[in-house]
Amino acid sequence: AQSVTQPDIHITVSEGASLELRCNYSYGATPYLFWYVQSPGQGLQLLLKYFSGDTLVQGIKGFEAEFKRSQSSFNLRKPSVHWSDAAEYFCAYLNRDDKIIFGKGTRLHILP
């Protein structure tokens, strides 16, 4: 069955440290993949998306993600996190019915 899995429910990193949030997908063909962020008290915002082409995708707020077919992964990365990055992050994919299906999310905590 098609799905995305975010194995980490919570992640804590220190401010200024690098970040990698994991997302694994299960899909027969090349999936359309997304990362969204939900900051406290705000709506979800699209960080980046991958449809095809270059497997390293640049997004907003200094985030990037790399599509790795061999590992069925689309991990989100940032070289140096800021306190304002504390939020919940959702990986999502476009299913065969043209609906965007979200993972359960990873909550990111930042230590000062």
Binding site: I9, Y32, F34, G41, Q42, G43, L44, Q45, L46, K49, F90, L94, D97, D98, K99, I100, I101, F102, G103, K104, G105
Partner: protein, 114 residues
């Protein structure tokens, strides 16, 4: 321009009552989605409207849930005979068209059923 708006922002209701949640999408966006976000459960797809096509209702959890979209713009999600398990944040999103796939989300309506 204005983003997606939802009202009310918070709703507390008694078990068994009906509630209506409203979504105003971005002007010109033809696609509109409703999701439910429960604690620790991610976003659960509920229903999807695209232009004048019949809506995709495959995510509605029971026949107590219904939604309509009038004039291709404003949408109302109705929950009849609310139950405590309906307590969640209900999110609306719109996108320019079926192919763009970039969704713009509203701030959500937090529903609490007592």
């Amino acid at each position: 321009g204005a983003g997606v708006s939802q009202s009310p922002s918070n709703k507390v209701t008694e078990k068994g009552k009906d509630v209506e949640l409203r979504c105003d999408p971005i002007s010109g966006h033809t696609a509109l989605y409703w999701y439910r976000q429960s604690l620790g459960q991610g976003l659960e797809f509920l229903i999807y409207f695209q232009g004048n096509s019949a809506p995709d209702k495959s995510g509605l959890p029971s026949d107590r849930f219904s939604a309509e979209r009038t004039g291709g713009s404003v949408s109302t999600l109705t929950i009849q005979r609310t139950q405590q398990e309906d307590s969640a944040v209900y999110l609306c999103a719109s996108s320019l068209d079926r192919a763009s796939y970039e969704q713009y989300f509203g701030p959500g309506t937090r529903l609490t059923v007592t």
